[in-house]
Amino acid sequence: MDMTRRGFLKGAGVAVAAATATALPGCLQEASAGNGNRRWGMVIDLKRCIACKACGAACRLENKTPPGVAYGVFLDEEKGQFPHAYRLSFFRPCMQCEESSCAKVCPTGATSHRKDGIVGVDYEKCIGCRYCIAACPYGARSFDYGHNYIEAANNPYNAIPSSEYGAEYGLRSKGRSPIGNVRKCTFCLHLQDEKGEYREPTACSRTCMGKAIHFGDLKDPEAKCLVHGEKMQELLARRGHYRLKEELGNEPSVYYLPA
């Protein structure tokens, strides 16, 4: 029983937890998974972004995340002085860093890189210590405290599972993963097919009102944005680009084109 597992882990400590977890072979969110010929990434064109936050809503709709767990977050900062006010606004999914701070501090190996660059969390290994939340320089991780948008258990919404990680943890229930785990954006990796290609682009990029979020493979120079069809490398070459907190050396997979 899940409660028993948790109770056991609490009592036995981290080392045992890791050992128990490794006994379970690889899955969607582990290093062995993913298509090694791909490195999935985003190019977000801030000139096109209108700060509507449809990306964030689409993310909730696709991943059915609970309150307090936010994968794709919109950041908005007021700048300047009247009448020369301006805003710094951007959508911040997980950066899926190549050198990710989160994976480095994870004591149980729950956070790992897949072969296609996506960083996953193995909920079976995650002990909810939240080191990764502290370590992530982008604030891209959140803890599932078990809150719900709708409390009534018989509400139809609560019978709709999240497809995250292949719906393995689709319906949340007390004392069971992912409640008590750290959660994060996975570039909607449950939308990948058997070969690790996307059947549908990520929810945020698909819905974007300004068509600002491009999503595709950054490894193949010919790869196209899965939403709008432009070549990803051409988008990057268009008018210069940057990544957030580049100086930290995390090598994020999310690029921004300047506003």
């Binding site: 969607l28 209108i50 948008y149 689709g170 058997e194 549908e200 009102m209």
Partner: protein, 818 residues
């Protein structure tokens, strides 16, 4: 059951489940997961095309339905509404790029499954009605609800006073059947939402170009000048952000005139902060510069306009220096944007509810429209387009028009009355015990006047004055608190509607129930039809109107099936000439006219055979005699089809002269609802209510992409993006008043006071405070209740005296720390 047992059981029984099990390998949960995944995978269930209605925008969407539940919503790329309003762009690019959806559309599921929805009819037990009075709701059955409502209606009819029934409705859903019901019942008092929104814009354009709904062709424009329109915040049609940002990418300049640094101003090349309600003055000064420097499109002005000389004379002294004093916009800025606008072609200028909700709105909007006139900015690519509005057809109702006048005489009082009525006038007369006759009963469908009208306390008085009020809504709204019976309505995911008019060429898109009404309640049209049956409403041929299908001609017992027949007749007899079932089968359930967007339609000559059949009416307009062409004699319901211009029968513009008018002939010699003479020039007059020493600040409001009207504030996802609506106050003004960011403040006007949280910002004009409209619910649902501020209480219940637009933005206040 222990989960170990369950897992073992599943592992043994569903190994063949497929789905994503390839990734899960020997995970203990694998079999269970595979099963769940198979049922809820992207390919599972059915994807049903329909149209959104989280706001009035009707964007195309696709809903994935599994086990009778909506589990995903995504954009419907077969529907132009959500991609582009121009056909070339849609046909060429939509397949590659795909359509879009806004945050509200993405959050639809949280409204559908909102736990605070009303599930069953309720009746009040407390006869006392007022703000904060508990109605003492008691659940009743649907049959009890129908019986009592029908009995109340029958009483009015039997007494020979059916006009004592007032009816209020949303303006894009199930309107036709409600209008038919009212006519058959015998009340002329059917009104709907438009006059709370943009009837000022409609009146302005109707006066200038004879078309109340031109649409901005942004994507082909090189210069976009917006007065108080916020298409990137009030994202009513999901294609607006794409066409705006794409235009900028192609080099167009975007200039936004607005007292607030709106979502659209944030993406503009230039934000021009302006004193509220003075946009007309800015437009006149721009016209002054354009004419002074001879930058107008002389050919268009010569051939296609009326009254240029008089207008030129009028703007001669409306210099940028004159306008600077009125608007606070520097004269050099006015000079520059006037010249840039006139010399960068194609340019488009548009105006919406910013200037459109002050007392001087109709003339202000007309002055802005005159900028388009000066540059010939109509029906060319990249300008204001006059859309072809063909879509569904409302069937002819064989019944006499009700004999009684409208309760508030609003159609006579307001010289540019809009068919949606004048809510402000109706509620004001109710509250004051006036009106042409006593009104006894109100039916309020999908409307919340307590939150959506200015003058909250007067509205409360008006509602309390009625003998019997019925509300149909998905929540126990603030207005419901005044109802005698409230019946649960449906969301857009549970019902039918036709959607058209939001792009520039004929398109008819289907909204259809993707799930059955979740509480088994009737859709609004079924509710109306059932009442019609219980009242035995018949047309002139003695036909049971709500039983005989207009398409089949057969009696249909089942209410849904009857409405499907009624509804199907609208598309079959409309432009698509297809039935409901045939449109359902089209890709994306949308009929798109292949002919696409047409330009320069006003220049087109009428067909000789149409002219031969036509009736020509000689009309005296000013000093001219104009030959207006009608398809049949006016007394037989003839429709204007054109005008004789230079000896040719052309379509022209549907104004009295057939041309674009600088002199607004439709207002010549007219008096407004308050008895003042209307100017027939697009004059600037200061709005009535100006700041003074006691109430020194303007108060305005606006929309943001996260919410619409007063109906999304219970949506738990949208609340994460925008949980309340703090009062925005300029930093310098706040410093002067000793207000810091986050302070609780009291906002007072001479009509009332409200509490708010202050947000100190650089993003608003120093003379102005303002907030996002829609918050401050005190009933509705648990999540909405007590959040943010409603500013309706600070204003009087008043409409613009020409067109009847509710004045949501005319208000002056003082703000102090609470």
């Amino acid at each position: 059951m222990s989960s170990i047992t369950r897992r073992k059981f599943l592992a043994g029984s569903v190994l063949a489940a497929g789905g994503m099990s390839w990734l899960l390998k020997s995970r203990t949960m694998q079999a269970f997961a595979a099963e769940v995944d198979k049922r809820y995978d992207f390919k599972a269930g059915t994807w049903i095309p329909t149209c959104c209605h989280m706001c009035g925008g009707t964007t195309g969407i696709l809903c994935q339905v599994v086990d009778g539940k909506v589990i995903r919503i995504k954009p419907n790329s077969a529907n132009p509404c959500g991609f582009s309003n121009i056909s070339d762009d849609f046909f060429k690019n939509c397949a590659t790029e795909g359509a879009t959806m806004c945050p509200k559309g993405n959050s639809g599921m949280m409204t559908l499954y909102d736990p605070d929805r009303l599930a069953k009819p309720v009746r009040r037990t407390n006869p006392k009605k007022g703000i904060g009075v508990d109605p003492g709701w008691k659940e009743i059955t649907w049959d009890e609800a129908y019986s009592e409502i029908a009995a109340r209606m029958k009483k009015l009819r039997d007494a020979g006073t059916p006009e004592a029934l007032l009816w209020f409705s949303e303006d894009h859903c199930f309107t036709h059947i409600q209008g038919d019901f009212c006519q058959l019942f015998g009340t002329p008092n059917y009104s709907n939402h438009s006059n709370l929104c943009d009837t000022a814009r409609k009146a302005s354009f109707k006066a200038v170009i004879g078309d109340e709904r031109p649409l901005m062709d942004a994507i082909q424009s090189r210069y976009i000048l917006l007065f108080g329109w916020n298409p990137l915040g009030a994202t009513k049609w999901a294609h607006l952000p794409r066409i705006m940002t794409r235009a900028r990418e192609r080099g167009a300049k975007l200039v936004v005139v607005d007292p607030y640094y709106s979502s659209t101003a944030r993406k503009a090349d230039e934000w021009v902060p302006i004193r509220p309600g003075t946009d007309g003055a800015l437009a006149l000064a721009m016209a002054h510069v354009i004419i002074r420097d001879g930058l107008q499109d002389k050919d268009f002005v010569e051939k296609w306009t009326y009254g240029f000389d008089k207008f030129s004379e009028y703007v001669k002294d409306k210099t940028p220096a004159w306008a600077e004093k009125i608007t606070t916009v520097p004269a050099e800025t006015i000079e520059r944007i006037a010249r840039d606008f006139a010399t960068t072609q194609p340019a488009v200028v548009d105006v919406w509810s910013g200037p459109g909700q002050h007392e001087n709105c109709v003339h202000g909007g007309a002055a802005i429209a005159c900028l388009a006139t000066l540059t010939g900015g109509y029906d060319r690519p990249g300008t204001l387009h006059l859309p072809n509005k063909k879509g569904n057809a409302h069937g002819h109702l064989h019944a006499d028009k009700p004999k009684a006048p409208r309760f508030a005489d609003d159609n006579k009082l307001y010289p540019m009355f809009h068919g949606s009525g004048v809510y402000c006038e109706i509620f004001k007369q109710l509250a004051e015990g006036k009106g042409k006759y006593p009104a006894k009963m109100a039916m309020i469908v999908f409307q919340n006047p307590m939150m959506s009208l200015p003058g909250t306390e007067t509205v409360a008085k008006a509602l309390a004055s009625l003998e019997f009020v019925v509300v149909n809504d998905i929540f126990l709204s603030e207005t419901s608190q005044f109802a005698d019976i409230v019946v649960p309505g449906t969301t857009y995911l549970e019902r039918y509607d036709w959607n058209t008019h939001w792009v520039t060429w004929p398109v008819l898109a289907l909204r259809q129930p993707v799930v059955k009404p979740i509480f088994g309640q009737p859709a609004e049209y079924e509710f109306v039809a059932e009442l019609g049956r219980r009242l035995d409403l018949r047309d002139k041929d003695n036909k049971e109107f709500f039983k005989i299908g207009p398409l089949s001609g057969q009696p249909i017992e089942n209410l849904t099936a009857w409405y499907e027949d009624y509804f199907s007749a609208e598309s079959k007899n409309g432009a698509p000439k297809l039935t409901l079932e045939e449109i359902k089968a089209l890709p994306g359930a949308v009929w798109v006219d292949k002919g696409g967007t047409k330009y320069g339609k006003f220049k087109s000559e009428l067909k000789a055979e149409d002219v031969a059949k036509a009736t020509i009416v000689k009309a005296k307009v000013g000093d001219l005699e104009i030959e207006q062409i009608f398809d049949k004699p006016k007394d037989q319901g003839g429709k204007r089809i054109g005008t004789m211009i230079d000896g040719k029968a052309v379509k022209g513009f549907m104004t009295p002269t057939g041309k674009v008018e600088f002199v607004l002939n439709c207002l010549t010699g007219k008096k407004d609802a308050e008895g003042k003479s209307c100017s027939d020039l697009p004059v600037y007059t200061p709005r009535d209510w100006q700041p003074d020493a006691q109430y020194p600040l303007f108060l305005i409001n606006w929309k943001e992409a996260t919410h619409t009207h007063t109906r999304t504030q219970n949506n738990r996802w949208l609340l994460e993006f925008k949980p309340d609506n703090p009062l925005q106050i300029n930093r310098k003004t706040a410093e002067r008043l000793g207000i810091s960011d986050g302070d609780q403040v009291v906002v007072e006007s001479k009509f009332g006071s409200a509490k708010a949280k202050a947000h100190v910002t650089e993003e608003i004009h120093p003379e102005v405070v303002g907030l996002q409209h829609g918050f401050g619910h005190w009933a509705m649902g648990a999540a909405a209740k007590g959040r943010g501020t409603s500013d309706g209480i600070l204003r009087p219940l008043r409409a613009d005296p020409i067109g009847g637009q509710a004045l949501h933005k005319e208000c002056c206040v003082r703000v102090k720390k609470a």
